[in-house]
């Protein structure tokens, strides 16, 4: 019967194809739920979830919170900015303190890679990784694939190009794992300085020329340039980046087919995408946000199903 093969969602790397299909089928039902006049189901009445955000987030945090509320779970929120972490408390101590308040699931975003895996080994709760450094962001990759599946019918056999700052992107890595698992072809495009050296070992190809990449693909997933993670200069100027890797309407129209534009947000308008592209009919950026709630509801629901009260 349908059951996830994992007890935490730490990364797409640990999932198999059946897990992804189960999450998508469950999310289909929740998408119907969140479009009802009353958008709430009582499934998780006796579950408490802690959202631990050690790094800034708006969309992901709101999306998780909304998903938890739609499932009727009790939630507590924690942001590193206003907490004892500033006073020097360790991650395990923070988590254990929160757990002694009887928390069943922890949703965590952390600036360090592997923070979720570490927590999963040391505390007794289900962990959902909401982004750990430049490692993985599994729910984002799931909602991206779910949006492609919704728009194109299936992910298998589709050609997806991920454009931009691959080096600092957890979205890129999770997306590569998720898309390959579902049988899609993945190409990367961006300044060579922002492409990790051994990334092609994962079985993805690289294209330096944006036009060629767009002509090849069915879907373009455009990433944000993460200025805040760049300690050195990776490209000469934003202007040059925009000229070489920014997508504008003119470029999009000059391609002979209608490709789909995705972006995990927040968009730097005028840098990686111009406004007329971001708001065009080809863009499914806002569908991604809506699907994010349904996907997170599905993940939380399926993990909560494994918690045994007896």
């Amino acid at each position: 019967m349908a059951k996830l093969s994992v007890s935490h969602l730490l990364g797409i790397k640990h999932l198999n194809l059946e897990d992804i299909n189960l999450i998508f089928n469950t999310a289909d039902h929740f998408k119907e739920v969140i479009n009802r006049p009353i958008k709430k189901v009582p499934s998780l009445r006796d579950i408490t979830i802690a959202n631990l955000f050690f790094e800034n987030s708006t969309r992901t945090k709101l999306s998780f919170e909304l998903a938890e509320k739609r499932l009727s779970a009790d939630i507590i929120n924690f942001s590193a900015g206003q907490s004892s972490v500033k006073k020097g408390e360790s991650l395990i101590d923070t988590a254990n303190n929160i757990l002694s308040m009887k928390v069943d699931i922890i949703v965590m975003r952390h600036p360090n890679e592997g923070a979720g895996d570490f927590l999963a080994k040391h505390v007794n709760a289900r962990i959902i990784n909401a982004g750990d450094g430049a490692h993985e962001h599994p729910t984002q990759a799931l909602l991206d694939s779910f949006s492609i599946r919704e728009k194109l019918g299936e992910v298998k056999g589709k050609k997806i190009v991920i454009i931009g700052d691959i080096l600092h992107s957890r979205v890129a890595l999770s997306n590569i794992y998720a898309l390959q698992l579902q049988g899609a072809e993945v190409k990367l495009c961006g300044p060579t300085t922002l492409i990790p050296k051994y990334i092609t070992k994962l079985g993805v190809s690289y294209e330096k020329n944006l036009r060629k990449a767009l002509e090849w693909c069915d879907v373009a997933n455009v990433l944000r340039v993460q200025h805040e993670r760049m300690d050195i200069k990776y490209f000469p100027s934003v202007r040059e980046y925009t000229q070489l890797f920014g997508i504008n309407k003119e470029l999009l129209n000059s391609i002979n087919k209608e490709i789909i534009i995705m972006h995990p947000g927040p968009i730097n308008r005028g840098v990686e995408l111009t406004s007329d592209v971001a708001d065009s009919k080809q863009s499914i950026i806002l569908n991604q946000v809506e699907n994010g709630v349904a996907i997170r509801m599905a993940v939380i629901y399926l993990l909560a199903q494994q918690i045994n009260r007896d």
Partner: protein, 181 residues
């Protein structure tokens, strides 16, 4: 596994026609009535009743919905196999309407309890009735009784009532399966 037939194809045919007539008695032209099949198995019965009402009694525009109760169940995480949801398909607001829940077997009453909660997400019905093909007497956990019933049976706990529909490539049949022996 012992299997005993409770109702055969002909008996089911007669019962379905009677249930359809009883619905007409209370709901006349169905203009203010909504039939709701409880997923997954109540939907077969609901479809069949609508077909009879439309073809044999020429009632038009019957509103039929499907309601999935998975997310409203009270045994979430209390059972071995995980629950799998079916689709909910209700394209209308049930505010001020007469709602009839349709399910194949009424046993503990817990599914209907969940359905009563679930339907609230679609508005406040004027009243709710319950139609079942098989009513398992003396097995209720909750104070829930059917308004329309095909056949009442007394079955011990180890026995299971199975309803088979020809839509599933089987013959219409209701049988009692003894899982104990």
């Amino acid at each position: 596994m012992a299997k005993k037939t409770l109702l055969n194809e002909k008996e089911i045919f007669i019962i379905l026609n009677r249930l359809a007539c009883q619905l007409i008695e209370n709901h006349q032209d169905f203009s203010n009535t909504i039939l709701i099949g409880i997923q997954p198995r109540g939907v077969f019965l609901a479809n069949r009743l609508v077909k009879i009402l439309e073809n044999d009694y020429h009632i038009k525009n019957i509103k039929l919905g499907k309601l999935d109760i998975t997310f409203y169940r009270d045994d979430f995480r209390r059972r071995e196999d995980p629950l799998q949801a079916s689709s909910t398909d209700i394209n209308f607001i049930v505010d001020n309407k007469n709602v009839v829940f349709i399910d194949d077997v009424l046993f503990s009453g817990r599914s209907i309890r969940a359905a009563l909660t679930a339907i609230q997400a679609f508005g406040r019905p004027k009243n709710i009735e319950l139609l079942v093909l098989i009513d398992r007497r003396f097995s209720r956990h909750l104070p829930i009784q059917p308004d329309y019933k095909g056949r009442q049976v007394d079955v011990i706990k180890d026995e299971q009532v199975k309803v088979e529909w020809r839509e599933n490539n089987l013959k219409d049949k209701v049988c009692i399966v003894n899982s104990g022996s």
